[in-house]
């Protein structure tokens, strides 16, 4: 019994709804009829914005009045329909609100992240500023007034010192070389060589002088620092220099040697 009662209710509800829909549709058709009598106006090409804004103002005022007059009306009196409709609407509302909630959460999260990032950046900039301030202070302590004269004096004294040092070094080198690498005695070795009778007449130069000439050539002529070996160079000393890597032969001409590069 109760089942058919429910069925009957459903049928009633449906019929009622359909009737109400028909009623509303009739109203729509009446409005439409009134509208078709309205003239269609197009927007003038010259100043569309003004006319559109006026039109808009009129339409907005009309709508506003309509909203003022309107009272909320229940669409149907049937309770079943109302309940079903209510449930449906509440579900939709719930869904929309959940969407809004998640959007707002996401937005909040992003804002928080942005805030953190900006704060970090601010901190880094602060640190940078502090660091730079410190560096500036330290450097400003070292600021010394630049005076040309003093620079000149300093340079001069440096030059003198270096010259003195150079003299010292050269003297030391000369003494060392003289002491440990003397010229061979005339009477000792050369008498054995009969071939080199011509060479006896040539005065041998000391290792010191060889080194000096090599150094001078390297300094004065960097593009061609080769010294031609002539008879005045005592060959064992040449061999000594070559073997210890102090001098190098020229690649093509064995009679020329140069001082090895001692700088990088």
């Amino acid at each position: 019994m109760s089942l058919s009662q429910q069925d009957l209710n459903l049928e009633d509800a449906k019929e009622q709804l359909l009737e109400e829909c028909e009623g509303i549709w009739k109203q729509v058709e009446e409005c439409q009829n009134k509208l078709t009598f309205q003239e269609i106006e197009t927007v003038p090409a010259t100043d569309p914005k003004l006319s559109l804004l006026l039109h808009r103002m009129k339409a907005l005022t009309a709508e506003f009045n309509q909203w003022q007059k309107r009272t909320p009306e229940i669409i149907t009196t049937n309770p079943d329909v109302l309940v079903a409709l209510g449930k449906d609407q509440l579900q939709r509302l719930d869904h929309d609100l959940e969407m809004i909630l998640s959007t707002v959460h996401a937005k909040n999260k992003k804002l928080n992240e942005d805030l953190l990032r900006e704060q970090q950046w601010l901190e880094e900039q602060q640190q940078l500023i502090d660091c730079l301030d410190q560096t500036e202070k330290e450097i400003s302590n070292q600021v010394v007034q630049f005076s040309e004269k003093r620079a000149f004096q300093e340079l001069k004294s440096k030059m003198l010192k270096i010259k003195a040092y150079k003299e010292e070094l050269l003297n030391a080198l000369g003494e060392f070389v003289e002491k440990h690498f003397p010229l061979p005695e005339d009477d000792g070795i050369q008498k054995k060589k009969t071939r080199s009778s011509r060479e006896e007449d040539v005065q041998l130069i000391t290792l010191h002088e060889i080194l000096e000439s090599l150094i001078n050539t390297l300094i004065n002529k960097p593009h061609d620092p080769y010294v031609t070996i002539n008879n005045s160079f005592w060959s064992p000393y040449i061999e000594l220099l070559l073997r210890y890597g102090i001098a190098l032969r020229h690649l093509e001409d064995p009679s020329r040697i140069r001082l090895e590069n001692f700088y990088d």
């Binding site: 058709e29 439409q32 106006e41 197009t42 559109l52 039109h55």
Partner: protein, 182 residues
């Protein structure tokens, strides 16, 4: 009649119609497909047109248009002048929130033939919103389709309590910043 009427026909139940006007068919089809892919409980009709006025032969089978979207291709001056010519054939009631401008191709600034300011000015002149869209990028296309669908539902009256006019008044606040247009 040559002008497109806003309220000339009865609305069809449970459906909404959108009209895309533009010279580039490929873009229109792409956008139409993306719109149709969105899940809706509403029947969406999409009409594509080259320019207005619409041919009068099929006027009786055409449903009432709820939203007109004018698609301007920034890389072609032809589409811009075409749209300008079409705007004259539209009923003034459409501009109360049922018209939207869509500018495509503005991403490649070194290939545009129309200035962005010109499009913004045109939209401002007709009191309608402008959307910028890059149709090649899928995400932007889907997002634009969703926005258009929402506007369509409001314009077709399926959102109770919001009318096209009130909605467009809400949207105006972001576009009406005329400090953009020097």
């Amino acid at each position: 009649m040559s002008t497109l009427a806003a309220f000339g026909k009865l609305p069809t139940l449970n459906s909404a119609t959108i009209l895309l006007v533009g010279t580039n068919e490929i873009f229109q089809q792409q956008l139409a497909e993306t719109i149709l892919q969105e899940k809706q409980d509403l029947k969406i009709n999409i009409h594509l047109a080259d320019s207005l006025p619409l041919p009068p032969e099929r006027d009786h089978i055409r449903p009432r248009i709820d939203l007109i979207v004018f698609m301007v291709n920034m890389q072609s001056k032809h589409s811009y002048s075409n749209i300008e010519a079409s705007l004259v054939h539209v009923d003034a009631s459409f501009f109360l929130g049922k018209v939207c401008f869509l500018a495509t191709g503005a991403g490649r600034l070194n290939q545009i033939s129309i200035e962005v300011n010109a499009v913004l000015k045109l939209a401002d002149l007709y009191c309608s919103p402008v959307l910028f869209c890059e149709l090649e990028c899928e995400k932007i296309r889907i997002a634009t389709a969703q926005r258009l669908l929402r506007m369509l539902r409001i314009c077709a009256g399926h959102m109770s309590g919001v009318s096209a006019l009130s909605f467009s008044s809400l949207m105006k606040s972001s576009i009406g910043d005329s400090s953009f247009l020097a």
